[in-house]
């Protein structure tokens, strides 16, 4: 009766959510592994699961037999147990423990030992190094060696808030899509250095089998070697505050040739941005760029309208800092001014100088001062930000 009712409710709910159901699926095991480590993890997992299930089923069967056979209602009389005394009895009692010892320390223990050695060997045969930095609530990637050395960028969630609040249909990769995915060449062992700027994060792509804590002030490391081109998605898996569910990891694994092309394009882009920083920008350009930067990076806390979420995240509209002058008489920016706060951060407010380039910082500062209900009037040029960094 109850179960029928539940089924009915379930059926109605399922029908009402066809759009969600279209992408949902029942997955019973790890996703397809694409690195040696993930493959190893899957094998270990499958083997261990089979062993534990076998133990479970055997023990359960014995129990169920006893439950049905040794019932008072069937008139079964209790026997008197004796502790095992003869050698043969002791032998039989010890057999289960011998099996367990064998499983723990030989059947599982030895392969696990090999896996650990493999997992922790980040250096041997590694061809390139990247640094992954977790911040609330985005990942920053920096290529530390090889052709791509010097390339760095921030990777933000692109799912819009309307989808989160159910005002729009959810896209296929809801919450697992970013603006700048990490790009890695296939069949290349990549040493991944991990750190964080504020709180603990954990960089995790299930198909890679690698997961490591990002600790502020420390470097941790792991490695990946993707064997199959594709787009791989994962998430932060260490609670890092209110945006914990909103910092996905997306990795594009491409062929080595495609990777080279991507590196060249990315370097070109960086050169152009540098050149742009030396130009004088118009108000429209700054505001347009600033809106883009603001909504990608700032709106998660200070909100799209600038209203903030006081007391943790102050309002920018009519804010004390956003409306006060930035530069002193000597042309240098003032301590605790708008630009100082964006560059260097304070408490929960992150320091953006390592995350955004000069143009982006100039644009977003100008935008915050002349939009979101503010109209201070002054603009900040990329050249001023460049000067301020020195």
């Amino acid at each position: 009766m109850l179960m029928q009712g539940l089924k009915k409710i379930g059926a109605i709910l399922l029908l009402s959510m066809v759009s969600v159901a279209a992408y949902a699926d029942y997955s019973w095991n790890f996703p397809e592994p694409v690195t040696p480590m993930a493959l190893d993890t899957l094998h270990v997992h499958n083997k261990f699961m089979l062993i534990t299930m076998a133990i479970f089923v055997v023990v359960l069967a014995i129990m169920i037999y006893s439950i049905f056979a040794h019932r008072k209602s069937k008139g079964f009389k209790p026997v008197t147990d004796k502790a095992p005394s003869t050698a043969i009895e002791i032998f039989w009692t010890l057999i289960p423990f011998a099996i367990l010892l064998l499983i723990d320390f030989v059947i599982m223990g030895i392969p696990a030992y090999r896996s650990i050695i493999m997992m922790e060997d980040t250096r041997n045969g590694s061809e390139m190094v990247i640094k992954v930095t977790g911040s609330q609530w985005r990942w920053q990637y920096e290529y530390m060696s090889g052709d791509a050395e010097g390339i760095k960028f921030v990777s933000n969630l692109t799912t819009n808030t309307k989808q989160m609040y159910n005002e729009e249909e959810k896209s296929q990769n809801y919450l697992l899509e970013v603006d700048n995915p990490l790009v890695l060449p296939v069949d290349t062992k990549v040493r991944v250095l991990m750190t964080a700027t504020d709180v603990l994060h954990n960089w995790w792509v299930p198909q890679f089998g690698a997961s490591r804590l990002a600790v502020p002030g420390f470097i941790r490391e792991t490695w990946v070697q993707v064997t199959k081109p594709g787009i791989y998605r994962g998430q932060c898996k260490e609670l890092c505050g209110k945006g914990h569910g909103y910092m996905p990891v997306v990795v594009h694994a491409v062929s080595k040739e495609e990777y080279k092309t991507w590196v060249l394009a990315k370097k070109d882009e960086a050169a152009q941005a540098d050149a742009g920083a030396d130009q004088e920008w118009t108000k429209e350009d700054l505001m347009a760029k600033g809106k883009e930067v603001y909504e990608k990076n700032c709106a998660v806390c200070h909100q799209v309208t600038g209203a903030g979420l006081p007391p943790a995240f102050p309002a920018l509209t009519g804010g004390k800092i956003t409306t006060a002058p930035i530069f002193g008489a000597d042309g240098k920016y003032l301590p605790d001014s708008h630009l100082d706060r964006i560059l260097n951060g304070k408490n929960i407010m992150p320091a953006w100088k390592a995350l955004l380039n000069d143009t982006e910082i100039a644009a977003v500062t100008s935008y915050e001062r002349n939009a979101l209900g503010n109209s201070v009037g002054d603009l900040v040029q990329p050249s001023q930000v460049k000067a301020a960094r020195q």
Binding site: L13, A24, M49, L175, G209, G217, F218
Partner: protein, 530 residues
């Protein structure tokens, strides 16, 4: 020993009535009742919090709450369930049953006992008050770091973290006081002839628990105090900028946190064999083996802590050590399972509600234990860690292994405590509802974890939708079934068929020689154990 003599002495028991009876009581039964009542109330509070979470996770998107409030609910749910529901329930049973089982007139330190209980309501208030203050616009709610308080997130947090730190201090003091009391009672107040190796297993389980609490609670208290000084007094224990290390907190926390699992489970492992013995009508099998296993588990409990953070970047030798030592726990645990099943084997079993819960408990706790063995494997743990697989695993050990065990104990001893039989039919209904909906809630979470859903996220990608929906619906069935439990307890307290002194046909032990309910002051004449 004549029970009528004992009942006669009860007339001399004079104590204040009304509220003053409960505020000032030093009687172990009154205090036990207060612990159990408090535990039941907090179980419902913590449970309704998680139903809020399951409602939010019913489908993708944010429907009911913002992510910050979501984080507050998960952390406070865990703290309440562990510290305010499970631990007080075990302490309640200890207060009620240990003196009865060892033939003592009361606990050794009755005033300490009273104080130990009355520290709990203030700490429950400390845990939940920030939610209420936030309603009035004061502060930004309770701690939003999960129950583990990991810095630097907990250093960043609002005053909810401070409230939780002080709550943990009070709860810790309460636990240590309770533990001292139990150790002193067990060592000094056993009836003549009851050697340590003749103590009921429940007393043994609690003795190890008490030692573990005294060994580990001060470490937790120290760790959260360091957090407090980091937050307010400029120390840098957990801040790399000042030479500290955030991961050190994890070491300190789990040095307490892992034994805590056994602190919650050992009392249950203690009375489960007693229930099996009663309903199998056959003495506990392997008493000594079980006692030695308790000791082994107690010893291993304090040396395996780092398996809770294998992905934090430990050196290889540490990974190997913590993996192998964790796997070693499966050996004494296997001894216990062996003894439990051997106690049932060729007994003359009947399946009243306590026995149903016990058998269900063995099976479900078995799943929790076996998945725990898998989790010990460092290689696979990189995937399981902080995924829903872990959430499912520890609910099999703590809901099935903890709370369903406690429920078995409640049905087992309720007739003794109240003097009335509970409604057997409703009890069995409660068991089946709980067992089925529990599995329907948590089995999908194993698969969610394998598919890659991290825990503690307020919203999730679309491929996780189906299993989350099944889990949420079942969680509500599970939650609502507990109202039946409350109803059964209340009706049993208020009346019902009179319970006999022995209550259960196969029950043996000193507590079953007393009247049901036992007199206010039991064992006016000391029983002698042969």
């Amino acid at each position: 020993m004549s029970t009528t003599t004992v009942a006669h002495h009860d007339e001399h028991a004079d104590h204040p009535t009304g509220i003053m009876r409960w505020l000032t009581t030093t009687n172990h039964k009154d205090i036990g009742t207060m612990y159990l009542t408090f535990s039941l109330i907090m179980f419902l509070v913590g449970g309704s919090m998680i139903l809020g979470i399951r409602a939010e996770l019913f489908q993708p998107g944010l429907q009911l709450m913002n992510p910050d409030f979501f984080n507050q609910l998960i952390g406070v749910h865990a703290l309440i369930m562990i510290f305010a529901a499970l631990m007080p329930a075990a302490t309640g049973f200890a207060n009620w049953m240990i003196p009865l089982q060892i033939g003592a007139p009361d606990m050794a330190l009755p005033r300490l006992n009273n104080w130990g209980f009355w520290l709990l309501p203030p700490s429950a208030i400390l845990l939940t008050l920030p939610f209420i203050l936030a309603l009035f616009g004061i502060g930004d709610g309770a701690l939003a770091t999960g129950w583990t308080f990991y810095p630097p997130l907990s250093i960043q947090g609002g005053f909810g973290v401070d409230f939780a730190i002080f709550a943990v201090h009070l709860l810790g003091i309460s636990s240590v006081l309770g533990s001292i009391n139990i150790i002193v009672t067990l060592y000094n107040m056993r009836a003549p002839g009851m050697t340590l190796m003749k103590m009921p297993l429940f007393a043994w389980g609690w003795l190890i628990t008490a030692f573990l609490l005294i060994a580990t609670i001060p470490v937790l208290a120290g760790a959260v105090t360091m957090l407090l000084t980091d937050r307010h007094f400029g120390t840098h224990f957990f801040d790399a900028a000042g030479g500290g290390d955030p991961v050190m907190f994890q070491h300190l926390f789990w040095f307490f946190g892992h034994p805590e699992v056994y602190i919650l489970l050992l009392p249950v492992w203690g009375f489960i064999p007693q229930i099996l013995q009663t309903f199998s009508r056959k003495p506990v099998y392997g008493y000594k083996a079980q006692v030695y296993s308790f000791w082994a588990i107690g010893a291993l409990a304090v040396v395996v802590w780092a398996h809770h953070f294998f992905t934090a970047g430990l050196p290889v030798p540490a990974l190997l050590y913590f993996m192998y030592s964790t796997m070693a726990i499966s050996l004494p645990l296997a001894v216990l399972f062996f003894c439990w099943i051997k106690t049932m084997w060729k007994g003359s079993m009947s399946f009243e509600t306590p026995m149903l819960f016990t058998v269900g408990w063995i099976i479900l706790f078995g799943i929790g234990g076996l998945t725990g063995l898998v989790l010990a494997d460092v290689a696979a743990d990189a995937q399981y860690h902080n995924s829903y697989f872990v959430v499912a695993h520890f609910h099999y050990t703590l809901f099935a292994g903890g709370i369903m065990g406690i429920m078995a104990g409640v049905y087992y001893w309720l007739p003794k405590m109240t003097g009335h039989m509970y409604n057997e039919k409703l009890g069995k209904t409660h068991f089946w509802l709980t067992a089925i909906s529990f599995n329907m809630t948590f089995i999908p979470q194993f698969f969610l974890g394998l598919a890659g859903m991290p825990r503690r996220i307020p919203d999730y990608a679309l491929q996780f939708a189906e299993f989350n929906m099944i889990s949420s619906i079942s969680a509500f069935v599970l939650g609502l079934s507990q109202l039946l439990f409350v109803y059964i307890i209340i009706t049993c307290v208020r009346g019902g068929k009179k319970a006999t002194d022995q209550v259960w046909e196969g029950a043996e032990g000193l507590e079953w020689t007393l009247s049901s309910p036992p007199p206010y002051h039991s064992f006016a004449e000391q029983p002698v154990i042969k």
